[in-house]
């Protein structure tokens, strides 16, 4: 590893307590370096999604500090916040595509952070960005669907469009929040393969949360276990034995 590279993500004593008193995250410390493929595992409701959404501040945290490439996103406001978010691509469980718009339109929206607002009001994307979007669609092998309406694609295709959207953003980090939860096993492999390729060929850091232990072991380089808002495991995939997963999911000894 390079000498003293800046971590992509740093969590510094991060806690999140929801308005109704539910604890989402409890004193989490975390450092993710460039190029890692990190899989977050845990039960549903354990705080995996909260963790993901804390990274790009779709959810605000209650305590602590989160830094992206060394810059605090917790303290960022307005334009600064949006510039940091621009560096983070996100993939969602429900794809979050605009159904009535074409695939191209959907992929282009990944670029909004790069334009002044008035240009966006008229939807004026540059030809270079259109080409960039088309390139991203080739990466996920959906170039032929460029002018198809998003709701005419299958679930797996829609998820790959949303990957292309994230790629078009040219981020250094990709967050994938249960990207395969609504997909069948066949398309699951494709989406996970795409993520792996992005990680290895394009060198983007990937943080993905999953339910499935086998997928976590097959794709991840590092596993983080979350239980009841607490980090209960953090280590390379080789150390994540079945005993470890057992603890993450069933909470063998530690309190919950």
């Amino acid at each position: 590893m390079k000498q003293e590279a800046t971590p992509v993500i740093e969590f510094d004593h991060v806690s999140k307590i929801y308005e109704n008193g539910v604890v989402g995250l409890k004193d989490i410390n975390l450092t993710i370096m460039p190029g890692e493929f990190v899989v977050v595992v845990g039960l549903s409701g354990a705080g995996k999604s909260t963790l993901m959404r804390a990274v790009n501040r779709l959810h605000d945290i209650s305590q602590g500090d989160i830094r992206i490439d060394g810059e605090s996103i917790t303290k960022a406001k307005g334009k600064k916040l949006r510039q940091i978010r621009r560096k983070i691509g996100m993939i969602f469980q429900n794809f979050n595509l605009i159904n009535r718009a074409t695939v191209l339109r959907n992929v282009l929206t990944g670029r909004v952070g790069y334009y002044p607002t008035w240009k966006m009001l008229f939807g004026l994307f540059s030809p270079e960005d259109k080409q960039r979007a088309y390139q991203a669609l080739q990466t996920v092998e959906l170039a032929d669907k460029v002018y198809t309406r998003a709701d005419q694609l299958s679930g797996g295709q829609q998820q790959r469009v949303s990957i292309a959207r994230a790629l078009t953003q040219a981020p250094s980090l990709i967050l994938a929040d249960e990207p395969i939860a609504s997909l069948d096993p066949e398309t699951t492999r494709r989406v996970m393969d795409d993520l792996k390729r992005i990680n290895q060929e394009l060198g983007m850091t990937v943080l993905v949360n999953l339910h499935q232990v086998d997928l976590a072991q097959a794709y991840g380089s590092r596993i983080i276990g979350i239980r009841a808002g607490e980090k209960v495991f953090d280590g390379p995939v080789s150390e994540a034995t079945s005993a470890v997963f057992d603890e993450i999911y069933n909470g063998a000894e530690a309190e919950g």
Binding site: F95, V112, T117
Partner: protein, 259 residues
């Protein structure tokens, strides 16, 4: 021994409500001096008017076309201006766009008040302000459309899928970009449909606005009525009927194609 069927509990809520409604009905008949007898004894007068109307003064048809077109023009402009105002306003009162409850509450309250003002009253007020003519009608229709369409708009906005909004936010979009790329594409078709619907209603409404001096065919209707030329009233009513049917048909087909 066989168990007897238990008695159903008396649903006194229902009975009380029915009683209140009956009392309200009797009270209404009393306060409005309703004499159905009077209606039936004078029924011949009523039918006479219909007979007079049925003797349509066809020669008058030509004169009604110009004001009828003006009515349609008024409706188009009024619908357009009202909808243009309604769009930003609807965003302002949508709970999934503006999270400040006080802002939403206050502006919704204002909207509800605007919606209670009858269209004819708006027409009469604007005639007083800008004078007799179609401009008063356009203003009245603008406010009327604004109230009607704002509500339809914000109800549509509040049912959209929040996913794309989140995706845009994650990609670094600001509020305007979120509206442009995540809100607008989801509701554009509904908006066009509602605007067309408002246009249908406005064509009907604007036919009578002229009665208060606010331009269009209503002015001619008022003249014919005050001169007791029911044969001309008949023509006007027929022309209105045909135009409304035609516009409803075209607009309905367009809306069907959109949704």
């Amino acid at each position: 021994m066989e168990d007897l069927l238990p008695k159903q509990k008396l649903n006194w809520h229902k009975w009380a409500l029915t009683a209140v409604m009956l009392v309200a009905l009797v009270w209404s008949a009393f306060i409005t001096d309703a004499h159905l007898g009077l209606f039936f004894t004078n029924f011949s007068q009523f039918t006479e008017l219909f007979v007079e109307m049925a003797h349509v003064d066809w020669a008058y048809t030509g004169y009604t076309l110009e004001p009828m077109l003006q009515t349609i023009k008024m409706s188009i402009i009024g619908t357009l201006l009202g909808s243009a105002l309604a769009f930003p306003y609807a965003l302002l009162v949508s709970r999934n766009i503006v999270t400040n409850k006080v802002v939403v509450g206050v502006f919704r309250f204002i909207l509800n008040i605007v919606r209670t003002i009858p269209d004819l009253m708006l027409a009469a007020l604007f005639v007083a302000v800008v004078g007799i003519g179609p401009v008063a009608g356009i203003f009245a229709l603008t406010i009327f459309t604004f109230g009607m369409v704002s509500k339809l708009f914000y109800e549509a906005i509040e049912t959209i899928d929040p996913g794309p909004l989140e995706a845009l936010r994650a990609a670094g979009g600001n509020r305007i970009e979120i509206i442009r790329f995540a809100v607008f594409p989801q509701i554009a078709n509904y908006f066009v449909s509602y605007v067309l619907y408002a246009f249908e209603i406005n064509v009907r409404a604007s036919t009578v606005l002229g009665y208060m001096g606010a331009g269009g065919i209503g002015v001619y209707l008022q003249q014919a009525l005050s001169m007791f030329r029911y044969d001309r009233v008949g023509v006007i009513v027929l022309v209105i009927f045909v135009v409304v049917l035609a516009i409803d048909y075209v607009s309905g087909k367009t809306r069907e194609a959109l949704l």
